[in-house]
């Protein structure tokens, strides 16, 4: 066995330690949950076995990435988390293969959440169930647009003819059939590559690319830029800001400008970088978790930007 035990039972709660080493047990425990979610959600769609394998792999990749991220908070309930990840993996695939169906699902979810004639419950495995309930006389909530009226009528009609709660996917399928929107019936292996593009890092290999990366960094929204740069460190833990200056990719003046600091202010920070998130949070007047989210958003945006040919 490669890793350490990942589950620490405290008072009946499963807390996954953030510095845990992912081992085979994680995979062994996650796969049945993943497979159950895939089977339930995709039961009416024709999905080849290799696509199911790819869905499972993508869910595992995201799970392991999450477990290895030392900056993320612990996971409360492992199975629920795995189910949620798997559901999002399926959603991403459907968004690629059947964007109309995916948008219809969003609209229906919006109606369900904004109209008090509907009852919505979320099961532990992430499935969403919906049914009708008596409308309240007080503060009737509706989506008050023409498109909202039309869709709401359809949803009301479908649910009125259902004897029991329906899952959101079933409901969307029923409404999609009435509207002539194609279900994501057949999903091929080619769709997988589009839905889950890999990181763009391999495309970035020259010093020119690094200059381009820097130009994208200075175009980031300020808080994302600060959250990224002030915390950035190399494998040895040294600040990337110092590396950038040492490698002469940027001057200290440019660096200060990018952080919206004077050079004197940057000098005062210089020996303290990389800053921990709590310090950055205080500087930005946000929470530590928000700093982490801002940095993740920055890294994601840079990856997507660098992916695009110019």
């Amino acid at each position: 066995m490669r890793g350490l035990p990942i589950l620490d039972r405290q008072d009946g709660v499963e807390n996954l330690s953030v510095d845990v080493v992912v081992d085979d047990d994680v995979v062994a425990r996650a796969v049945p949950v993943i497979d159950t979610v895939i089977r339930r959600r995709c039961r009416s769609w024709k999905i080849a076995d290799d696509v199911r394998d790819d869905l499972r792999s993508e869910a595992l990749v995201r799970l392991i990435k999450r477990l290895r991220d030392p900056q993320r908070s612990p996971i409360d309930t492992f199975d629920e988390y795995v189910a949620g990840v798997t559901s999002r993996v399926i959603d991403d695939l459907v968004r690629t293969t059947s964007p109309e169906w995916a948008r219809l699902k969003h609209r229906i979810r919006y109606v369900l959440n904004h109209d008090d004639r509907f009852r919505v419950s979320i099961l532990a495995d992430g499935r969403i169930r919906c049914s009708l309930q008596p409308a309240s006389a007080i503060g009737a909530r509706r989506v008050r647009t023409r498109a909202g009226d039309v869709l709401t009528s359809m949803v009301l009609d479908v649910l009125a003819h259902s004897e029991e709660e329906r899952t959101i996917d079933d409901l969307v399928n029923a409404v999609a059939a009435r509207m002539g929107i194609a279900e994501p019936i057949r999903i091929s292996a080619d769709d997988i590559a589009t839905a889950y593009p890999s990181s763009a890092l391999s495309a970035v290999e020259s010093s020119q690319s690094l200059q381009r990366l820097w130009s994208e960094i200075v175009a980031l929204p300020f808080r994302q830029r600060l959250a990224l740069l002030l915390n950035a460190r190399d494998a040895a833990g040294d600040s990337v800001l110092r590396l950038l200056v040492a490698e002469r990719f940027v001057t200290k003046r440019e660096l200060a400008a990018s952080l919206e600091l004077s050079e004197a202010e940057l000098d005062a920070l210089w020996n303290g970088v990389p800053l921990i998130d709590a310090v950055i949070a205080e500087r930005l007047q946000v929470t530590r978790q928000q700093v982490i989210n801002l940095r993740k958003a920055a890294r994601d945006r840079l990856a997507r930007r660098m992916e695009r040919p110019r």
Binding site: K65, L123, A147, L201, V240, E260, Q290, D300
Partner: protein, 316 residues
């Protein structure tokens, strides 16, 4: 591998990042409804710029929900009036524009500036006009009395235990507009049962839940203050959230008139963060007020007291 290449790779690994997951539906919905916190709003907006799929989905949902503001003909019809009023407001404020140092960076707000409305003091309602004029003149907005009744005394809030308890239940200590709020809490595994009280009378109760969130049903009467708690079964015993010495979790549902006024303001002036910020502040909806006023300050750095207003509300 050369040393240069190695260093370059170190930099790239640290900065160039990895693709992250797209924003969830729940986040997109909050973005469309304008109920999201300002950091997440920035993250979603930034993501939309690089993800055509999410951008299309948000635009579709905004149009569906009737919240699209980019091409509103209604806005065009009032634009001329706003321009005239802006001249009046500029005269009223008579402040020289701040000299800002040129930054090499771009912010999204800067790119949007051409389409932003200027501050108006003619909203067609005397109470709105007065509220905005007072706010700009003084640079502060006083907290409404309702907030004090929703929040425990400062001494209690300063204790570590109560602070952490307040952090695990939402909403708590706030005014909300929706009569069917989504109550969320952080706790160990359930099952949970949520109860909402008006005084000593229980007015809503969930079923047995396995999830850590429940939307109140039926809709709560407006203009009332509610307490809520979560009962958690632990074997043979029941634990409650919040648990002493944490203060009770209180929220107030905005009264019908105030809610209608907010809806009217959002409908008629969807892109006027000053008015929306001031009104939300007046009604005690602090977080939304801060977000709107910060938005206003970012767009109008040359207006005296623009930044001070958000700070004033933040300090409540």
């Amino acid at each position: 591998m050369s040393e240069n290449t190695s260093r370059r790779e170190s930099i790239l690994h640290a900065l160039a990042g990895e693709l992250d997951e797209h924003p969830s539906y729940e986040v997109l919905e909050q973005f469309v409804d304008g109920t999201i916190d300002d950091v997440t709003r920035e993250i979603v907006a930034s993501h939309r710029e690089v993800c055509a799929t999410c951008d299309a989905e948000v635009r579709d949902l905004m149009a569906f929900a009737g919240r699209s503001s980019s091409t509103s003909l209604r806005w065009l019809s009032v634009a001329a009036a706003v321009i005239v009023l802006s001249l009046a407001s500029a005269y009223l404020m008579r402040s020289p524009p701040l000299q800002r140092t040129q930054q090499p960076t771009q912010k999204p707000v800067a790119r949007k500036s051409a389409t932003q409305p200027v501050p108006a003091i003619g909203y067609g309602r005397d109470d709105w006009n007065a509220a905005v004029r007072d706010a700009l003149a003084h640079g502060t907005i006083a907290p409404p009395a309702i907030l004090a009744s929703l929040r425990p005394t400062p001494d209690v809030l300063r204790t570590l235990s109560s602070r952490s308890a307040a952090a695990v239940m939402n909403p708590a200590g706030v005014v909300i507009d929706t009569p069917t709020p989504l109550l969320t809490w952080r706790a160990e595994s359930g099952p949970f049962v949520v109860s909402v009280y008006d005084g000593f009378e229980r007015v809503a109760r969930s079923g047995v839940l396995q999830t850590r969130g429940w939307r109140v049903e039926p809709a709560l009467p407006r203009g009332r203050t509610y307490t809520w708690q979560v009962a958690i079964r632990r074997g043979d015993s029941i634990e409650l959230l919040p648990s002493p010495p944490a203060p009770v979790s209180l929220f107030h549902v905005l009264d019908q008139d105030s809610s209608a006024a907010l809806a009217d303001a959002r409908r008629r002036f969807p892109d006027d963060p000053l008015l929306l910020g001031v009104l939300h502040a007046r009604f005690g909806m602090q977080q939304t007020a801060i977000e709107e006023l910060r938005k206003y300050a970012a767009r109008h750095s040359d207006v005296r007291n623009a930044a001070a207003l958000a700070d004033s509300v933040s300090s409540w």
